[in-house]
């Protein structure tokens, strides 16, 4: 059964602008988080491509999660151990920057010591960054238990949207799938994605109606579908694209995570975008929504997650 409710006529509406000097609003600043390893090369490349697309100022941050003390000649040293680790990391990061984007790019590198997520989030906040770019790789299940999912730790702590780039990224995304639930986080993510999509690219704005069988059996089902379509179109109308990119609203029904992943795979998406709530009411603020978390871990492409501070998910 085809569970897609999209209007082909509406999809073909010309979007963007033909006025040459009207451009998408630039991003102010991008922070690229790296550990100096090969897995993070994609983050630096993505940072370069996104900066070139948006005109953002890019800087690099790296965090040493080293022990706060060390032994040297049988004596306990505290500050010296941290300084040594930071120096080694700085050398590593500078080498990586030289290798991937070159020294002519003049990117600032900031090496810090402390907790990974907290320090990256603090750096992004201090630089008033609009995007944190990290490398993304698939982790075995044990890493989730051991807390070694570094990208997820940054996502939890950061109020700034996080762009996790997969290895082999070749440019700004052309096929972008934006999963929205009409919350503030999803809307924020959709707005951000509309500024990143490449010229001539397509922005698929997807909403999945969960519990479709149960809902569609109810007498007010047509009303619910109509309302979702209206909300979807209102959101698409609000987004501004440049350079003749296209926007396409898509309404699906079923399990949100499965449907969105299948849609992204089917359309060979370069980027999957979603918003996230922060926490159930009353709990601390380092939660990521269940759908956003599952998409972040399982997406077949790069992922952009925007958390909306203060937006909390409802516990059924």
């Amino acid at each position: 059964m085809d569970n897609r409710h999209s209007s082909d006529a509406w999809d073909q509406r010309p979007r963007g602008t033909a006025i040459g000097w009207l451009r998408p609003p630039p991003l102010g600043s991008i922070v690229v988080a790296t550990d100096g390893g090969d897995d993070s090369d994609a983050a630096l490349l993505a940072g370069a491509f996104l900066a070139a697309r948006t005109g953002a100022v890019t800087s690099v941050v790296s965090v040493c999660e080293t022990a706060r003390w060390g032994l040297r000649n049988g004596r306990v040293e505290v500050a010296a151990a941290v300084a040594r680790a930071r120096h080694a990391r700085r050398v590593c990061v500078e080498r990586q920057v030289r290798r991937t984007v070159g020294t002519a790019a003049s990117w600032d590198a900031d090496v810090r010591a402390g907790a990974l997520g907290v320090e990256v989030a603090a750096c992004a906040a201090r630089r008033d960054a609009e995007l944190v770019v990290i490398g993304r790789r698939t982790h075995p299940s044990i890493d989730r238990v051991m807390g070694r999912e570094h990208g997820f730790r940054i996502l939890r702590a950061s109020r700034t949207p996080v762009f996790a780039a997969t290895a082999g990224i070749a440019g700004v995304p052309h096929e972008v799938v934006v999963a929205v639930n009409f919350g503030a986080g999803g809307t924020r993510a959709a707005r951000l994605a509309s500024r990143l999509v490449a010229a001539g690219g397509t922005l698929h704005v997807v909403h999945v109606m969960p519990h479709a069988r149960r809902r569609l059996a109810r007498p007010d089902a047509p009303f619910e579908v109509g309302r979702a379509r209206a909300q979807l179109r209102a959101l698409c109308d609000e987004l501004t694209l440049a350079d003749h990119a296209h926007i396409r609203p898509v309404l699906l029904a079923g399990d949100p995570v499965a449907e969105i992943l299948a849609f992204a795979t089917l359309h060979a998406a370069d980027l999957l975008v979603c918003g996230s709530v922060t926490a159930p009411a009353g709990e601390h603020d380092m939660h990521v929504g269940p759908v956003a978390g599952a998409l972040f871990r399982a997406a077949p492409c790069s992922v952009l997650v925007a958390r909306q501070p203060g937006e909390r998910w409802e516990v059924a």
């Binding site: 040459g20 000097w21 009207l22 451009r23 998408p24 609003p25 630039p26 630096l44 490349l45 940072g47 370069a48 491509f49 900066a51 070139a52 697309r53 948006t54 005109g55 953002a56 100022v57 890019t58 991937t100 984007v101 070159g102 002519a104 790019a105 003049s106 990117w107 070749a170 440019g171 700004v172 052309h174 999509v197 490449a198 010229a199 001539g200 690219g201 440049a242 350079d243």
Partner: protein, 204 residues
């Protein structure tokens, strides 16, 4: 007293990344590296590309074995098909007359942020950068295992430096070697070159 700038000037001054790239296509195989860089940059950053070729109108009193205008157009067209994966998306502009002046006009109208020149025809790159208020990249063929070698010239302004940094980062990420930026205030480069772009005898 506050100075009010026209909206067009404000839009020009605002740095919003690489949106429009211009590349000089002279039709010669040794200039293909410039076209390839434009193609790669456009693909990676989503910028639009405008190919430009200098059309020298021959003296009608001179005897030419073939039609030089047609030969120039054919050579530029062939070059586009050699370097571009989707040449139909490129726009080809003919620069006739005094080409630096025409280039300046096109760059101003299109708000071009980056001009790519073939390595053998980048005399006066710094002057072009300053006159057009755009970064100029001169591309040489690869000789050291990289995709090619890029030399940048940027106007001496915050915007120019920023754009040059963006271009350098993307070019390096795409596998090009990026050399140091040329100073744009060299005395010998005070005016755009008045000579033809290259030794533009009509292609055979």
């Amino acid at each position: 007293m506050r100075t009010v700038m026209p909206a067009r000037t404000v839009a020009r001054e605002a740095v919003s990344g690489l949106q429009h790239v211009a590349v000089i296509c002279d039709g010669q195989p040794r200039g293909d590296a410039a076209g390839r860089l434009a193609e790669s940059l456009a693909s990676a950053t989503g910028a639009s590309v405008r190919a430009m070729t200098v059309l020298t109108i021959p003296d009608p009193r001179t005897a030419w074995p073939n039609d030089p205008v047609l030969a120039t157009l054919n050579a530029a067209n062939d070059q586009l098909y050699r370097v571009a994966s989707e040449p139909g998306l490129w726009r080809l502009t003919l620069l006739t007359g005094h080409w630096p002046e025409r280039l300046l006009t096109v760059c101003d109208e299109e708000h071009v942020e980056l001009i790519i020149l073939p390595g053998h025809a980048c005399d006066g790159a710094a002057a072009i950068a300053r006159a057009c208020d755009a970064v100029v990249a001169c591309v040489d063929d690869a000789s050291d295992g990289t995709e090619g070698r890029v030399r940048l010239a940027a106007p001496r302004s915050e915007r120019g430096e920023h754009l040059a940094g963006l271009v350098a980062a993307v070019a390096t990420g795409l596998g090009y070697g990026v050399g140091s930026r040329e100073p744009s205030d060299a005395r010998s480069d005070m005016t755009p070159p008045d000579t033809p772009l290259s030794d533009r005898t009509a292609p055979a």
